[in-house]
Symmetry: C2
Subunit: 284 residues, 2 copies
């Protein structure tokens, strides 16, 4: 494994953040990062050959996530953003142990944002089966004094990937899930935390279905803020930045399944066309 330093004598390079997800959802986090820290290099890794993580066990998700983290470090990432709720919830500690650089997940920043937004101190979290079973959000929110209801919504990711973003079927499915989530103790909840990076694409439908007093919070923006606040000193200044103007970010994408599909589906999440994609096989 090659660990590249930021500025080697005679070999200047851009400060580099590695962003990891099981597939496409993490591109919503990358989008928020690009808005907040535009002048550096990003390496995005989507483990599309093995997605989804959300229905898989702790051991399997941890193994996959550690491989991805090592890959990004080997390509020069100096900081890792685990832009996948399932991988963060199930394997953040393992990823930190396996990495030489700082690692930030989406759960803590998401919990911060939800706790700030909830006047009733009562939050509903929706996510994949594995994220909910890990109770990572429950623990993070309870430690901030919140009452928490968690609800797994396994059909929402496939609906997003089918492109049924504002479809009546998606609205019905969301209504079934939210009705179950917001019953009994959760009637007092005033925050719906989107514990999956696919869900921001469903915000219009969720806004329609959720009660008007419920704020919808996703962790993409708060994660980007946490990254901006905590990046190491040497990443604050870009030795290659053009002093005349704010440099454009440099983007490089890696996918374990088809490049063509990554280009096609990924653009929907990132909000603009995706180029510069490389196919990689992770040997276990």
């Amino acid at each position: 494994m090659v660990h590249t330093n930021i500025v080697q004598p005679g070999k200047l390079r851009y400060p580099t953040i590695g962003v990891f997800d099981s597939g496409f959802g993490g591109l919503t986090v990358l989008k928020a990062l690009l808005e907040q820290i535009p002048d550096i290099e990003y390496l995005y890794f989507g483990d599309t050959a093995r997605l989804p993580y959300g229905s898989k066990s702790v051991e399997t998700v941890a193994r996959y996530a550690v491989e991805a983290a090592r890959f990004l470090e080997s390509r020069g990432a100096q900081m890792l953003v685990i832009a996948c709720n399932t991988a963060t919830a199930l394997a953040l500690d393992q990823i930190k142990s396996a990495s030489k650089c700082p690692v930030i997940g989406v759960v803590e920043p998401g919990a911060d944002a939800a706790a700030s937004a909830s006047h009733m101190k009562n939050v509903v979290v929706i996510g994949t089966e594995a994220t909910v079973a890990s109770h990572a959000y429950r623990k993070a929110l309870e430690s901030r004094g919140m009452k928490v209801t968690e609800k797994a919504c396994p059909l929402l990711v496939p609906l997003v990937e089918e492109g049924w973003i504002e479809h009546s079927v998606t609205e019905q499915v969301a209504r079934i899930y939210l009705d179950q989530a917001f019953q009994e103790s959760a009637r007092q909840s005033d925050v719906l935390l989107l514990g999956c990076t696919h869900y921001p694409l469903l915000k219009p439908v969720l806004r329609q279905v959720a009660a008007p007093h419920v704020a919808i919070i996703d962790s993409a923006e708060s994660t980007a803020r946490a990254v901006a606040a905590s990046r190491p000193q040497e990443m604050l200044t870009n030795p290659l930045a053009d002093p005349e103007r704010r440099s454009a970010p440099r983007l490089k994408f890696f996918a374990t399944d088809s490049i063509e599909k990554f280009r096609r589906l990924g653009a929907r999440f990132l909000g603009h066309p995706i180029e510069n994609i490389e196919h990689v096989d992770l040997k276990e």
Copy 2:
């Protein structure tokens, strides 16, 4: 790799068929096999850590399927049944090349059954994205003189796995897909071929949605018949069979993700409780 012979001197063993699927769907094929060939040993491999295959590329599916076939041979399988439409459609030739024993997939037997059932010589096939993109069923059916319409139905597998087997949402989704499939040239179709081993669980809903003159055919039974007809001579007689009574089949299951989940979800597909599951990691 260990290749076990059927009857080694001093070491009699049951004739053994290896059944492979990306996850649970292939258990509907195993169920049909158990009815037709009950007195042998079955090794079932579910690649649950890497499912679903249906949205992935040819290269990825072929690599995974070949690894699984090799694993089953190394555990003593003398014949392989590829009980996964996507793996059959995308990688049957690669699996055959990589295997020492006979290999049977689900596409040809399914096409046989559909062709026999269609008086109008006009068949609609539904399956995963990858199966439909491969046009394996189109080729198999056209070579039997059929007119073919293919339709990818990516939400049906997640709906089955959510357990929404006879749910109003599933009925709506099925209606949307079948309305699209049975339009224009396919109005003359009188057969709906279920090109995915998850779909037999949706037969009640599909029966409700499809026009009354349309026969619904799945490849599980026809594949089991093809296996019974083509198994090698040495597998016809079981040296260990109890002459007094028809021996019970021996079943052994392998899963790449959680055993507990395999036990829980698998029973739904096999129709009875599942024991004797071993977790395996496939090193690539």
